[in-house]
Subunit: 504 residues, 2 copies
């Protein structure tokens, strides 16, 4: 999908630009005719035109504009704190102590908090979070990550040297994909991603000039991943691409499914068979709600499958932005490599070093997440209560959201087994589709924009994630707290009924 | 300069890898034969092999290894806190309050700190630094940045909408350079950078496949910038490149010069004449020490020169990592655009949105830096005392470093007018140069590595920054505190004398 001049102009209009004359723009040294063409192509719907318009509506409301609604409800992005979730006390206390170590002397903080903070500071240059860390991150935090992974995976060995900390998982994912760019390759390099996918992938592939190869998740069987579809997708891709990477998101974003262990084995065997480098986006590993669903890390399954599958080259990603902590703004994440060529790893680290280091406070959050209070430690009870309460509430909302949308005529919604999203299908009437096409808009974009303008509810159209031709979806988070969710649902229902009536 | 297999192997050796067989590596799906070739080419000397070896030596010492020195002294990187500089109390207090807002209720913090913290939180989703910000940063902080720039530039207007916050200035610089990538351009796109330069530039250009065009700073007149040299460099470049960007670093890194206002005017007129987009790296704007030297922002001079120069497209960068605060690890920086094509800006913001946002705590540091306590506010006296003390101490060390190195036989050193570095020239004996070449090393790399192994002093060879053929330099920071600096200088002198004797 190209970012057309029409799209640029409509985005400009949304942003309040008045310049429309081509002549003015082309007088500039850097203009839309000579800018990096990949920057034009790339799209990131989670913060796209609908969200830009939502922010603008918020400003208009704040300035007293009259709208058919009193507030904007942002269900577009997995941003728990923005939707009212409270931070975990232990995490913020550790952060506070490393930020102002003098506070630790006053005896106001639990001993486990102080111990964590002192350990982190001991790994920092000059005992200050204001010093650069190594580009791979503070060693003692990397070690804690390795310990955490080992425990999570029932003892499968993790070496801290294979772990690189980063400003959120996104940065690591982008860094790893960057290794595959090769403009002088005889065939363009291809990367397989699920459809629907999280648009970080499509945006990054477009920016890097890598080929996007979609494999469809099966909506009919709750967004499961089918081996035949993987084979079809790969084999078609090879006509055009040198396909070298397979990306999997588990639990799924935007689709909310949790892959079964059997499914994961299938994927690993497929990647091994076709010599694909596997990227496992596992940032929702703590967000599993459905009865019978369980998170299995790709690393663990790779290891348990044994030879030859345990030679698979794998990069797996985790983040502090999701889970029960939702510390999106603090930017902490990491990648763990398995079986990476040691020469490649040297080059990877060199590449990262030119970006100096990720935020050391973000690294400190990672530490507090992977090394939480243990039973018996003073912060344990409160930490456990807060964590369990967030996870229970998310679980409740996962069911609520599925049921609520599933009960609306013209909408079907798979169970939200995990992650933070539902991805309901809207069965749009043909006249609505025609109307959208006449406006040069994707039908679900048209629907979402109408919804926003009429109700203030901000969701992301399915076309931003990819979907089967002729189907239309939207992604909504499960994050609005109960009262807000009720309000959102009322607005949604009322809009939807009118919309379906109008275009039936 | 290619990152050769020899270089890869020696780096691998430094990192303790034992795999040397090509066959093993080439069995990997991703290996050095098919990795992104730009990742092989790029170099970042500030964290290159010498620094990797320094870290390794630290580990060896910690494990009780016997060395001719008891500690490693890292003068390789502008990392003030790592060298013992203490954080500014006001900054850390603001950070503490936004991290744990409950502490504000206890009345332990000055009212100006609390006011700043509440204002920042008011701009955050859900009043939490754990929420994502807009990709451009928290609006109220952007507004404070604009106010700061306006004040700095004597009233020249600054619009907050032209400011984007980022994780350090490096991220903004890389984002802006990314706009110029164009692999389908008939001639490769070229970017002019000073030689010597800060290797973020050479590394980023190599990574992006942009052409590096060096213009030499004049060592004989204290690293000043000569118009004739700009003209020579540009005109030669045009044979090969479509040269579209001019980068200037002021105050200079690694060279420590502060450009005169006249020099800045010359550069602006040159950029205007040749339709070059100007990148002004001004992260050392608070670090000016020399009598008679003063910082002039490019934006101010552009504005004061009036028509037609005030139409120049300019991106200028600042950071919280340098100055008096030295908060490198917290990752805060920004870019201010001037005269950017509005269509390009829409695309720039879209591009940044796929990276979500920079660390909100890093943004909070920016706020504390651009909106410091005002006279009369409770934190003012302490803040001023701390700031003045750091700047006075840096000024003292700037003189000390210049004099110390300048007084050593076989070394000449320009005055350190600003920034945090000296870039002395070493007049290496011909036999030392021969010896280095026989080892397939740059002569100043050879010198620096010998220095490190003999004394534990870690500096960066001039070849990592670029220099005129046949000249050899090194970059050292002025950051070691007095006792450490004395120690470092003793070690240096003793090594240098022996080295010069050995190779004379």
């Amino acid at each position: 999908m190209r970012f057309t001049r029409g799209a640029i102009n409509s985005t400009k209009k949304l942003l309040g630009f008045t310049t429309t004359s081509r002549n003015m723009a082309s007088n500039k040294i850097l203009n839309v005719e000579n800018i990096n063409p990949n920057v034009i192509t790339m799209q990131y719907a989670v913060r796209g035109p609908i969200v830009i318009r939502a922010v603008q509506l918020e400003h208009e409301l704040a300035e007293g504009a009259k709208k058919p609604f009193k507030s904007v409800i942002k269900a577009n992005i997995g941003d728990a704190h923005a939707m009212g979730q409270k931070p975990i006390t232990f995490i913020r206390q550790v952060l506070t102590c490393v930020t102002d170590p003098s506070l630790m002397e006053k005896g106001d903080f639990p001993s486990d908090v102080v111990e964590r903070a002192k350990t982190i500071l001991g790994g920092c240059g000059g005992q200050s979070v204001g010093a650069y860390s190594q580009s791979t991150g503070v060693d003692v935090i990397r070690q804690h990550v390795a310990d955490y992974i080992e425990k999570r995976d029932g003892g499968v060995k993790s070496n801290f040297d294979n772990i690189c900390l980063s400003g959120g998982a996104s940065e690591s994912i982008r860094n790893v994909l960057k290794l595959f760019i090769n403009h002088s390759s005889p065939k363009p390099i291809g990367v397989m991603i699920p459809i629907p996918q999280y648009p970080l992938y499509s945006a990054t592939l477009a920016e890097y000039g890598l080929g996007q190869i979609g494999y469809f998740l099966n909506e009919e069987s709750n967004w499961s991943l089918d081996e035949k579809e993987l084979e079809r997708s790969l084999s078609e891709s090879l006509k055009t691409y040198d396909t070298r990477v397979l990306c999997v998101i588990n639990p799924g974003n935007p689709t909310g499914q949790v892959l079964s262990r059997k499914n994961i084995e299938t994927i690993i065997k497929f990647a091994h068979k076709h010599k694909l480098f596997l990227l496992a986006d596992e940032v929702y590993q703590d967000n599993v709600y459905a009865q019978g669903s369980e998170f299995h890390s790709f690393k663990k399954v790779v290891s348990e499958l044994g030879d030859p599958y345990n030679k698979l080259e794998l990069a797996s990603f985790h983040s502090v932005s999701k889970g029960y902590m939702g510390e999106c703004g603090l930017r902490g994440g990491y990648v763990e490599f398995l079986n990476l060529d040691p020469e490649v790893y040297v080059l990877y680290k060199k590449m990262c070093s030119a970006k100096l280091c990720s935020t050391v406070l973000g690294q400190a959050v990672i530490d507090a997440v992977v090394n939480p209070p243990k039973p018996g430690e003073p912060s344990y009870e409160q930490w456990k209560k807060e964590r369990d309460s967030v996870l229970a509430s998310l679980k409740e909302r996962a069911t609520l959201v599925e049921k609520a949308y599933g009960s609306i005529e013209g909408i079907s919604c798979n169970p939200v087994q995990g992650a933070m999203y539902a991805f309901p299908q809207i069965h749009l009437p043909a006249r609505a589709v025609e109307k959208a096409r006449s406006l040069n808009q994707e039908p679900d974009f048209f629907y979402a924009m109408q919804l926003l303008e009429a109700t203030g509810v901000c969701i992301v159209p399915g076309s931003g994630f990819g979907q089967k031709d002729g189907t239309y979806h939207f992604r909504t988070t499960i994050l609005p707290q109960s009262d807000l969710f009720k309000d959102m649902l009322d607005r949604f229902r009322s809009f939807h009924t009118k919309f379906m009536e109008e275009y039936k």
